[in-house]
């Protein structure tokens, strides 16, 4: 099974006065997994549904493997889809569900295919179970096997993990990535969970108001956000006052390189919590306000004059950073974005 390239070209879709897709352009390379990330109503699900043929675009084209499929109905687009809601057919067993698409394609003679797909998602022993006899995670696994069984040109995942509990989500997203890499199907994964998007995707597309704000590998999206919206939406950011002079911005007494050049003057810089080091210092200008234990890392909020700064520290440091402790803040010289609204 090998993937095909997908191109969404100038897609527009409006629901009344709301523009769900506003001239959206997106290219997905063959075999690539792209995650579309964004807040509710940004148009990510609409983009996926237009690609699936479940929604019509007002204008624009959908090209799959170079072929224009814009006018094709959903059942003739050759796409496998996993939905947010549990979508297994309740009257069929897991194996029958996986066989459904194969039977429609007249591949009844390949009885091993459905079983092999169930095996791929680790549920070969559950073939005779009905959906109501399986957990949410198992149902979504079967849905994935069902979508992949038909050897689709493109795999579409519409927030498939959002109904699951935290631990199963992490397991299943890793499994999705493993299987996608194994079969090499071009995949579009829609999610509002940034951690999920960063963890599974080859490239992450951050959407806002029907447009792509940035499309880049996860590390780039996180470390070099294309703008304040991306910096703000992906990961936590401190909004700290600074002064731009030349290629740097001075924040809390430290000069930090700029991701994109800006005019000299007062600005608000967006600084990641993990780029802030906190050291106990009786002469330091900051005071710890709160601290929260998060497992291997912890988060401390420090007040520096009128400004609140959130820092991510190793949990081993936490005993020395109790609320009220005087501390010194050091910013790591990683490139930062500026809030254009300032």
């Amino acid at each position: 099974m090998s993937g095909v390239a997908v191109h969404l070209e100038g897609l527009r879709r409006a629901f009344g006065s709301v523009h769900a897709l506003d001239d959206l352009d997106l290219e997905i390379a063959a075999g690539e997994l792209i995650a579309l990330l964004g807040p509710s109503g940004c148009g990510k699900t609409t983009a996926l549904r237009v690609l699936a043929g479940l929604e019509d675009a007002d204008s624009g084209r959908v090209l799959v493997g170079g072929k224009d499929v814009t006018a094709l109905p959903a059942n003739r687009r050759d796409m496998g889809m996993v939905f947010q809601a549990y979508s297994l057919f309740p009257h069929l067993t897991a194996l029958e569900n996986v066989s459904f698409g194969l039977r429609l394609r007249g591949r009844r003679r390949d009885p091993g295919r459905a079983a092999a797909m169930l095996d791929l998602v680790g549920l070969s022993a559950h073939g005779r179970r009905y959906p109501h006899q399986m957990s949410g995670g198992q149902q979504q696994r079967v849905a994935l096997a069902r979508a992949l069984a038909i050897e689709p040109a493109v795999l579409l995942l519409d927030e498939p993990l959002s109904a699951l509990d935290a631990k199963v989500r992490v397991q299943l997203r890793e499994e999705i990535r493993r299987i996608q890499t194994e079969v090499g199907t071009t995949t579009l994964f829609v999610t509002h969970d940034q951690e999920e998007a960063l963890a599974v995707a080859d490239r992450v597309g951050v959407m806002r108001a029907g447009r792509l704000e940035q499309l880049a590998p996860p590390a780039v999206v996180y470390q070099q956000p294309a703008g304040a919206f991306v910096a703000d939406f992906v990961g936590l950011s401190n909004r700290l006052p600074g002064v731009v002079s030349g290629p740097v911005v001075a924040v809390l007494g430290t000069e930090l390189p700029l991701i994109t050049p800006a005019a000299a003057g007062r600005v608000t810089a967006l600084v990641r919590p993990e780029a802030v080091d906190v050291t106990p210092d009786p002469d330091g200008s900051g005071r710890v306000l709160t601290s929260s234990f998060l497992g291997s890392t912890s988060r401390v909020t420090v007040a520096v004059a009128e400004t609140l700064v959130v820092a991510q520290v190793a949990s081993g440091q936490l005993p020395s950073l109790t609320p009220g402790t005087a501390v010194r803040l050091t910013l790591q010289p990683v490139p930062v974005a500026l809030d254009p609204g300032n």
Binding site: N75, A85, S87, F89, H91, L104
Partner: protein, 263 residues
């Protein structure tokens, strides 16, 4: 405290029995009276279960029974063919029209049968012109008559499943709309479809006004006619029709349950 609770339980149990007995008497007494009355003539019941003899002795009654069974079957089929795809389509593509469709389907419930007949009479003049005056043509009127009950049953079945997601999942797997309806939606609303079909059959078997006023024959019309010549036989046939309806209900509920269990 324990004594109060025990007394309350005792009272509730007694109340339940009283309600059960009163309702039992209310429903069973007329049936018992029918059995007693129809058995006064020892020939009635043996004749009723002997179809060749029955159709020789009471040819009009036999015609009425056959006509009613035909009407019931055809109405159920026509109702399902019209209503199931419509209800699914409204849910999937025209959710804004749901209230309107529901209102339209409930309308026949608010219009008295006699008024319906006045409206239907000129329509049936055309039906007779094109399709003849067979009793089976009543199927069109009956389909409208059963809409309120059948639509409710089917709509309740569709509410119990996520039709949109199931339809989209099957579409993405390559299914056309007919496959979506026949192989995905219908099997999941089977008990609702059975309920709608049963209600249709029960309603058609008990219909008298429209058939009588449009000069067609059916079971109830022939029972009414028979009542003038053989009272015991007419009561026996009414009772048999009632028992048939009960049996049908029992069979359908058993069928629904066994399917659920087999999952």
């Amino acid at each position: 405290m324990a004594g109060v609770i025990a007394r309350r339980r005792r009272n509730q149990r007694a109340f339940r029995w009283v309600v059960f007995v009163v309702l039992g008497v209310f429903f069973l007494l007329p049936l018992a009276a029918m059995v007693e009355f129809s058995a006064r003539d020892s020939q009635t019941w043996p004749l009723l279960v002997n179809w060749p003899k029955l159709s020789d002795t009471y040819p009009d009654l036999a015609d009425g029974i056959v006509a009613s069974l035909e009407q019931a079957g055809l109405t159920a089929v026509l109702m399902l063919v019209l209503l199931v795809p419509t209800a699914i389509w409204v849910r999937l593509r025209l959710p804004r029209l749901r209230r309107t469709v529901e209102f339209l389907c409930l309308l026949p419930l608010t219009i008295p049968a006699i008024v319906l007949v006045v409206g239907l009479a000129p329509v049936y003049a055309w039906v007779t012109y094109f399709l003849g005056d067979s009793s089976s043509t009543l199927v069109f009127a009956y389909t409208i008559l059963v809409l309120p009950y059948a639509y409710r049953a089917i709509d309740a079945g569709l509410s119990a499943i996520d039709v949109r997601t199931l339809a989209e999942a099957s579409r993405s797997l390559g299914a056309g709309w007919s496959t979506v309806i026949v192989r995905v939606v219908l099997p999941n609303i089977r008990s609702a479809v059975l309920s709608a079909a049963f209600l249709t059959v029960a309603l058609v078997l008990g219909e008298y006004t429209i058939a009588s006023l449009l000069n067609r024959t059916n079971l109830q019309v022939s029972i009414a006619l028979l009542g003038k010549s053989s009272a015991t036989m007419s009561v026996a046939v009414s009772l048999a029709a009632l028992l048939l309806a009960f049996a049908l209900l029992l069979l359908l509920s058993l069928a629904g349950r066994s399917r659920k269990d087999s999952k």
